[in-house]
């Protein structure tokens, strides 16, 4: 499998010179198999960049296939939706697979996001590609264009956010992008998702110091990301969902801090070229 981070930032996009190395776009992660099947995680602002690349290929001709896993519907995870141009080309087969968030259905929530007050699209029905919206239950598995995906609901402040285990090409990765564990520590469901994965991508929005003042905000301290990687036997850990106030230098410092403590090789997710999980292992 290959992974490309198109958006690694949490809460709000951060343009500006202090965020150029890790990137300022909100959550968007592309996963590809050796045979070039694609999967996308979340629709943050990063997908506007991915869209340009996709439109140069089969998606520009209406021949693209793209399943999109949605962790949850907080704005930083869906704000790229109205600008993801593959949705506007008839023929593209796009589906959004996410959680049933609350008393509203996932479709209703996405419709709300595109309601004419907020968006000139007026509604999902105006996406020419005809996007399908489906939900996946906590603990369920699904087969998606050559990927095997398992979802598990993670506590994320007042709501749940899905974590995913994704398998293909005989490899596995886990994505747990928005989570705050209870005081008793990481959940067994998180450890199961990440069990033995080649790469764990985990929420690390707060330094441990900052976390002390931000309990209940729905995000993890760096040490929880490390704890999950170590207990689950992950081979690599990518810190993710960087704080919008963390400049490139701040993230450097966080990585240095984590590297000293983590028995699992650790790096911070950054926007940039795709990398294969194999290359990750040969580097270490």
């Amino acid at each position: 499998m290959k992974v490309r981070f198109w958006g690694v930032r949490g809460s709000v996009a951060t343009p500006g010179p202090a965020y150029l190395r890790y990137g300022g776009n909100t959550t968007a992660v592309e996963v590809r198999t050796e045979t070039e099947n694609r999967l996308l995680i979340d629709l943050g602002t990063g997908v506007t960049q991915l869209a340009r690349e996709l439109m140069d290929g089969e998606f520009g001709r209406g021949e693209g296939v793209l399943p999109i896993l949605l962790t949850h519907t907080h704005l930083d995870h869906i704000q790229g939706l109205p600008f993801f141009t593959p949705f506007f080309v008839r023929g593209n087969q796009t589906r959004i697979i996410g959680p049933e968030p609350t008393e509203l259905s996932l479709t209703e929530t996405l419709q709300n996001h595109l309601n004419p007050h907020y968006s000139p699209l007026y509604g999902l029905e105006n996406l020419a590609a005809g996007v399908r919206v489906e939900t996946i239950e906590d603990g369920a598995s699904v087969e998606l264009s050559g990927f095997r995906v398992r979802a598990a609901a993670m506590p994320h402040g007042g709501m749940a956010s899905l974590g995913f285990r994704i398998e293909a090409d005989g490899e596995a990765l886990a994505f747990i992008g928005d989570v705050e564990y209870p005081d008793t520590g990481p959940l067994s469901t998180a450890l199961e998702l990440a069990h033995g994965v080649d790469l764990l991508i985990h929420d690390a929005m707060f330094t441990d110091e900052a976390y002390a003042l931000r309990r209940g905000w729905g995000h993890s301290p760096v040490s929880d990301a490390i704890a999950v990687a170590e207990s689950a036997g992950a081979k690599h850990l990518a810190l993710f969902h960087h704080n919008p106030d963390a400049t490139d230098d701040d993230v450097d410092a966080i990585v240095a801090w984590a590297a000293k403590r983590s028995r699992v090789p650790v790096f911070a997710a950054s926007e940039g070229p795709a990398f294969s999980l194999k290359a990750l292992s040969s580097k270490a």
Binding site: R9, H74, A128, M159
Partner: protein, 322 residues
């Protein structure tokens, strides 16, 4: 001793977000900035008006919260919205003064359809979208629904809202203070090709004779509002060739803005709401090209950059003409 009004700049305008549609991080927007719409207007006496609440509002809020905590600024805020498309409101949940005890925020905006402004604004922080509900933050909120052509006063600002041509409705504002004036004209399409109403446009819709009359009327009241204004900030999202492809998207080109602002006593035009695809290099070209075009027409044309501060007022005008 009373100072001669010509001795100082009356009003300062600061651009905190200049981008349209969505925020654009990355190396190609470092110079002009990647944050979406947000402009601060300040008088020398400290009156402060915030126009639009795009992602640029976050950095402004961080500064204002500091000033408020240090006692350099009162706890009242006035936010004036052109409309509530995401790029104009997505900074609101990140406005730090809202999280301070004792803060009072009044949001002024257009009411469209039957939904109350209060309901539309609180809807952006519904629990599916954001972890903290607007009703739950320490600040208290007031909502003031504005009507085109019905002037109102905020602090020492006199404000005239006027209708713009944009999907589902938008308003621009003329703001007068301390003997000078600015106008904020964003977002708007020109008033010729398409009339935006309250339904989705998959492509350009030929205007009916009735639509044409509505467009003429909108243009007439816009020109009336802009007449004699010192500095006009205008939605110039598209290059002319881009506009030709997307005349139904609700945005203008700098050429449209020049057309509107020439010959009506406007001193300066600010190009604003840049398309997300416009890199710094493209923006440099646009800035140079339209500065020259403006000069030929007797208009100072500048291109908005994030954190750019503009002095507006008699002194600024005098210096520019000398």
């Amino acid at each position: 001793m009373r100072r001669d009004p010509l001795d100082y700049y009356a009003v300062k305008v600061t651009f905190w977000g200049v981008r349209g549609s969505y925020p654009v991080p990355g190396p190609s927007t470092v110079k002009y900035g990647g944050h979406t719409s947000c402009v601060e207007v300040r008088t020398e006496s400290g009156a402060c008006l915030i126009i639009d609440a795009g992602t640029g509002l976050r950095a402004l809020g961080q500064e204002l919260a500091l000033q408020q905590q240090r006692g350099e600024k009162d706890s009242r805020y006035d936010l004036v919205l052109s409309h509530v498309h995401w790029d104009h409101i997505q900074g609101l949940p990140f406005f730090e003064p809202a999280y301070l005890e004792g803060t009072h925020i009044t949001i002024h905006g257009l009411r469209v359809a039957t939904e109350e402004l209060r309901h539309v604004i609180t809807g952006i922080t519904r629990r599916e979208f954001f972890p903290v509900r607007l009703e739950a933050v320490p600040a208290d909120f007031d909502f003031h629904e504005v009507t085109p052509q019905r002037p109102f006063c905020i602090q020492s600002f006199e404000i005239l809202p006027f209708a713009l041509n944009h999907p589902f409705g938008a308003v621009g504002y003329r703001v007068d203070a301390d003997g000078t004036s600015i106008a904020y004209v964003s977002d708007t399409a020109p008033f010729t090709d398409v009339l935006h109403k309250q339904h989705f446009l998959p492509g350009p819709e030929i205007p009916t004779p009735e639509d044409k009359r509505a467009l003429d009327e909108m243009q007439r009241s816009l020109i009336e509002a802009l007449t004699g204004v010192d500095t006009v900030i205008y939605d110039t999202h598209f290059l002319p060739e881009e506009y030709e492809r997307f005349p139904h998207f609700g945005h203008s080109s700098p050429d449209h803005a020049l057309d509107m602002c020439t010959g009506i006593g406007v001193r300066r035009l600010v190009l604003y709401h840049h398309a997300p695809s416009h890199t710094d290099d493209m923006m440099d070209d646009i800035a140079d090209h339209y500065a020259d075009r403006g000069k030929a027409l007797g208009l100072e044309v500048i291109t908005a950059r994030e954190r750019m501060e503009l002095d507006v007022g008699p002194n600024a005008a005098r210096e520019a003409s000398s």
